[in-house]
């Protein structure tokens, strides 16, 4: 064996080292090392000493049997530690306590590691071949195991108690030596030799238990004494501190476990009491707009499984209560006041609901970080009170009226375009909460028709804008008719130009009256009752002329005249001064009768015009009992009766040159509801047939729920209504009941 040592090389033929002799030599090295560790005055090892020790081991291991002492040296290596620990280390530790013990332990551990490092270098040769050959633990491990078995196992429990005591001390606000604790806990980790078992079983589990009971005690007194915000502040602080604790001296793996325990004791156990605290709990915070506290509540409960559910629930209840209060307010005002003030109140309600939505949406986004639970809570809350009726008007109607007020002339002219756009945007969002969307559509359509036909629309762009928004939210089918209506008006204007041209080219056809006709496409517009009033001859001519013109443009189309929507400008030749009267076509028909006769009885007018009593009374009332008395009524009572007679009021005058004589609008509500109900019946039929056609066989409950789902975009179908339609479909042989199971239905092709 050749070996290089420094600059010299040796040849074989070395002297055999005897075990006892060799070990004595090694002992000198070990003793020297111990002295260094004990802090006694002792110079460090120089390289020659180190080499001698190393070589001694090497030689003793490579000698020929029976002088190969590997096994014995391996054992003596361990014994060296054991001896040192038993004689010096352990006694030193056992005589100390608490923090002093901890310090001693850290020192002794550090020393031990140094000892292991050095000795394993001296005995290194064993690591190279011997341990592998015999599958024995390497020297490093042997060294550590000695400490573990002799020192750690003896003391870890006592140490753990001391550490925990210090932790609790720190929790109570006292300063402690964090670096010391870190070093102590590092021992637990290192002693595991790659596994966290020792740390977890011998320290962490106890620490967690202790922490839990510590916080349990704190929580039980805080929950009694503190308000909800204060308690939350404390909790937040505690969690922060515990995280810091982990960062400073606990092992990082303890963090989630520790946090979970603290959260549990502070926030889970007392969740209910905390949230429901009478004057400071969640409800109170919402009531008093305590945004910061609510944000904190969200932060704290967000990380706890199912922690946010109760908060979201209280939020939902709160918003619902606020919404209900608004509705109730409007209802109360409406029942106590006159009709027109009441309707203003209803419009105020919509504004307030929009404001409520804005307010709580901010909460959802900012306090509750747009969490789905809170979006859902807000949605469900609004769905509850947005579907309530106020003074007989459904929310669908109220919303449609609100839109009408914004879009009509004289409605919201004070608002900027931006403000109007913004409001329309919000209104459409509100529609999402209303279940009877089809009812809204019908009311909207009726009012849109009125705006378009009587030129009461304030701004074309806004009209189109809201239709676009409605289309985006509810789909093309929702707005197709309305869009058709708006287009009709544009076409009508073009048509009118052609008509005037036609009249220009055919002077003989000219009826002598300025005539404007708006042709509507039947499918788009609401259905209007129109009955054959006997028109004055002048108007009859107009109708015929237009018909003639229209036939030059399109054949195969039928024109149905809706006189109830017409407007007429009449010149009233009163004694004092002539005044232009802007009236409806019907009113004009009544007035024109007086061109030929001075006085007419109710029945005369009735027979001449061929109207219903209801309509005639309305007409005559508007002309003789309202603000402008164009006709004098005999007797001059406040209402029209069938025995009255009427005369042209030549004495009538007004300071204006032109006056509008309005007809009070007929209540469209009943008709709208009827029309919508009818459409719903068809829609339910179609949905049932569609579903059954694709499924062929389906159980009753499933059919009903699928039906409800399919129709939910437009309305919430009544279960009874669905059942009724199903029975109708059975009678019409679209469906049949299954013979075996009467709760199943079959599609009949």
């Amino acid at each position: 064996v050749q070996e290089r040592f420094g600059n010299q090389s040796f040849r074989m033929e070395r002297k055999t080292i005897d075990l006892e002799q060799g070990w004595d030599y090694m002992q000198t090295g070990i003793t020297k090392l111990k002295r260094i560790l004990e802090g006694l005055p002792e110079p460090q090892f120089d390289s020659e000493q180190y080499m001698m020790l190393y070589t001694t081991i090497y030689n003793m291991c490579t000698q020929k049997p029976p002088h190969d002492y590997s096994q014995q040296l391996y054992d003596k290596y361990r014994e060296a530690f054991e001896e040192y620990i038993n004689s010096t280390v352990l006694p030193a530790l056992k005589e100390k306590h608490d923090e002093y013990m901890l310090r001693e332990l850290v020192k002794r551990w550090s020393n031990h590691k140094v000892m292991v490092r050095w000795l394993s270098r001296f005995f290194y040769y064993l690591d190279r071949y011997f341990i592998a050959r015999r599958s024995l633990p390497p020297l490093n491990e042997v060294g550590l195991t000695c400490f573990r078995d002799r020192v750690y196992n003896e003391l870890h429990s006592k140490v753990k108690d001391a550490v925990i005591a210090l932790v609790d001390k720190e929790r109570e606000g006292e300063q402690i030596d964090r670096a010391l604790l870190k070093n102590v806990l590092d021992i637990y980790v290192e002693i595991g030799m790659g596994q966290m078992e020792r740390y977890e079983a011998d320290f962490e589990s106890f620490m967690l238990l202790d922490s839990a009971s510590y916080y349990s005690r704190k929580a039980s007194s805080w929950i009694q004494e503190d308000s909800c915000p204060d308690y939350m502040l404390k909790s937040e602080e505690c969690l922060k501190k515990e995280r810091e604790r982990v960062a400073h001296y606990l092992h990082s793996s303890s963090e989630p476990k520790l946090v979970e325990k603290v959260q549990h004791e502070l926030l889970v156990v007392y969740a209910n009491q905390l949230l429901e605290k009478e004057h400071s709990g969640c409800r109170a915070l919402l009531r008093d707009d305590k945004v910061d506290d609510l944000s904190r509540m969200y932060r704290l409960y967000h990380k706890i499984a199912k922690g946010l559910e109760p908060v979201a629930n209280i939020f939902k209840q709160h918003v619902t209560a606020e919404g209900n209060a608004l509705v109730q307010q409007a209802e109360d005002t409406a029942t106590n006041q006159a009709a027109n003030i009441a309707s203003v109140q209803e419009q105020v309600l919509i504004r307030k609901v929009i404001e409520l939505h804005d307010k709580y949406m901010v909460y959802v986004v900012e306090c509750f970080q747009s969490h789905t639970l809170f979006h859902k809570a807000l949605k469900e809350a609004f769905e509850i009170f947005c579907n309530k009726t106020v003074a007989g008007s459904s929310s669908a109607e109220l919303l449609a009226t609100f839109c009408d007020n914004i879009l009509k002339k004289g409605g919201s002219e004070k608002l900027s375009d931006e403000a109007i756009e913004d409001t329309l945007e919000k209104v459409v969002k509100l529609l999402a909460y209303i279940s009877d969307k089809d009812l809204f559509a019908e009311f909207y359509r009726k009012k849109l028709a009125r705006r378009l036909l009587f030129d009461r629309s304030a701004n074309d762009d806004h009209e189109r804008s809201i239709l676009t928004k409605l289309k985006q939210q509810c789909g093309g089918q929702f707005t197709s008719k309305m869009e058709g209506m708006v287009t009709d008006l544009t076409l009508a204007r073009e048509n009118q130009t052609s008509f005037e041209e036609y009249l220009g080219n055919n002077p003989a056809a000219n009826p002598g009256i300025d005539l404007t006709v708006t042709v509507l496409t039947t499918g788009f517009w609401p259905s209007y009752k129109s009955f054959d009033i006997n028109l004055p001859s002048e108007m009859v001519k107009c109708v015929e002329v237009f018909k003639g013109f229209y036939e030059t443009k399109t054949k195969h189309r039928k024109l149905t005249w809706i006189y109830s929507l017409g407007t007429c400008h009449l010149n009233g030749k009163f004694d004092h001064k002539p005044i232009e009267l802007v009236v409806s076509t019907y009113q004009a028909a009544v007035l024109l009768l007086f061109n030929t006769t001075d006085k007419l009885s109710y029945n005369d007018i009735l027979t001449q015009l061929n109207l219903s009593h209801e309509d005639l009374v309305r007409l005559l009332h508007s002309l003789s009992c309202a603000r402008y008395k164009i006709l004098t009524k005999e007797p001059s009572t406040k209402t029209v009766s069938q025995t009255d007679s009427f005369e042209f009021n030549a004495k009538f005058t007004d300071r204006m040159r032109r006056i509008k004589i309005p007809l009070p609008p007929v209540d469209e509500r009943k008709k709208v509801v009827e029309d919508v109900d009818k459409d719903r019946r068809y829609a339910i039929d179609a949905a049932i047939v569609r579903i059954m056609k694709s499924r062929k066989v389906l159980g009753h409950q499933q059919l009903v729920s699928e039906c409800v789902e399919q129709l939910s975009r437009m309305f919430k179908p009544d279960i009874k209504a669905i059942k009724k339609r199903m029975e109708d479909l059975i009678t019409r042989d679209y469906l049949e009941r299954d013979k075996e199971n009467p709760n199943m239905f079959r599609y009949l092709a």
Partner: protein, 233 residues
């Protein structure tokens, strides 16, 4: 017999199901021929006793006569059962073939024998399997028109009393009361008719604890159920 039912128009009509045929199976063996011919003679003789000679069928008058001979009221369920047995198609009329069919099945050829056979017939019809069929038949029998598929309330009330009165007295009484005061329905469909039978058989009465609005009971029974509950409260 209950009075005939009212008409309604159908959107899609199934062909009116006929449950009888007028053609008789032709007896094959000649030895049988003589015997069955003789038997048939007897039946036809009996038939002619009650039939209207010009129309060739037993008409309502003939049935009245038959009833008085049998000593049963013409509103007795047994006559309806007889109609069922003979698969009679038209209310108030028995054809020759129908007559023969019933008498053959009952193995009778005189009025006296027929009268004796009626209780047996009733027992047979009341067997659960037969009764369901009979119950449905009773409804169809009251329809006068091929295009018609429902019966007016008044007729239904009488029919219910006749057909279910003896077995489900309580249910029939209450339901009839309800039918008379409600306004939702002016006529009853086959589905509703069968639904009520199912109701009587499945639902404990009058507590109705096993009734559920979630199931596919006809709406009229849901309404009946709610009306009963209100009364009981």
């Amino acid at each position: 017999m209950p009075r005939t039912a009212s008409k309604t128009t159908k959107k899609r009509s199934k062909p009116y199901t006929v449950t009888s045929s007028d053609t008789d199976p032709v007896p094959s063996a000649s030895s049988k021929t003589k015997k069955s011919a003789k038997e048939n003679d007897e039946k036809y003789k009996l038939f002619n006793k009650y039939a209207n000679t010009s129309s060739g069928v037993i008409d309502p008058e003939g049935i009245e006569k038959l009833c008085s001979k049998l000593k049963v009221s013409h509103t007795d369920i047994k006559i309806l059962m007889l109609a069922w047995k003979m698969k009679s198609e038209r209310q108030g009329y028995f054809t020759k073939a129908e007559w023969r069919r019933a008498l053959k099945a009952l193995k009778v050829d005189t009025t006296k024998k027929l009268k004796k056979a009626l209780p047996e017939l009733e027992k047979e019809v009341r067997k659960p399997l037969n009764f369901a069929d009979f119950y449905a038949y009773a409804f169809r029998y009251c329809l006068t028109d091929e295009r018609q598929n429902c019966i007016d309330i008044e007729t239904i009330c009488q029919l219910l009393d006749m057909v279910l009165g003896s077995t489900f007295r309580d249910q029939v009484d209450h339901f009839v009361d309800y039918l008379k005061i409600q306004n939702d329905y002016k006529v009853i469909t086959m589905d509703q008719w069968m639904g009520f039978y199912r109701f009587c058989n499945e639902i404990s009465f009058p507590d109705m604890t096993n009734y559920s609005l979630e199931l596919a009971w006809p709406l009229i029974l849901d309404n009946f159920f709610e009306w009963m509950r209100e009364k009981q409260a």
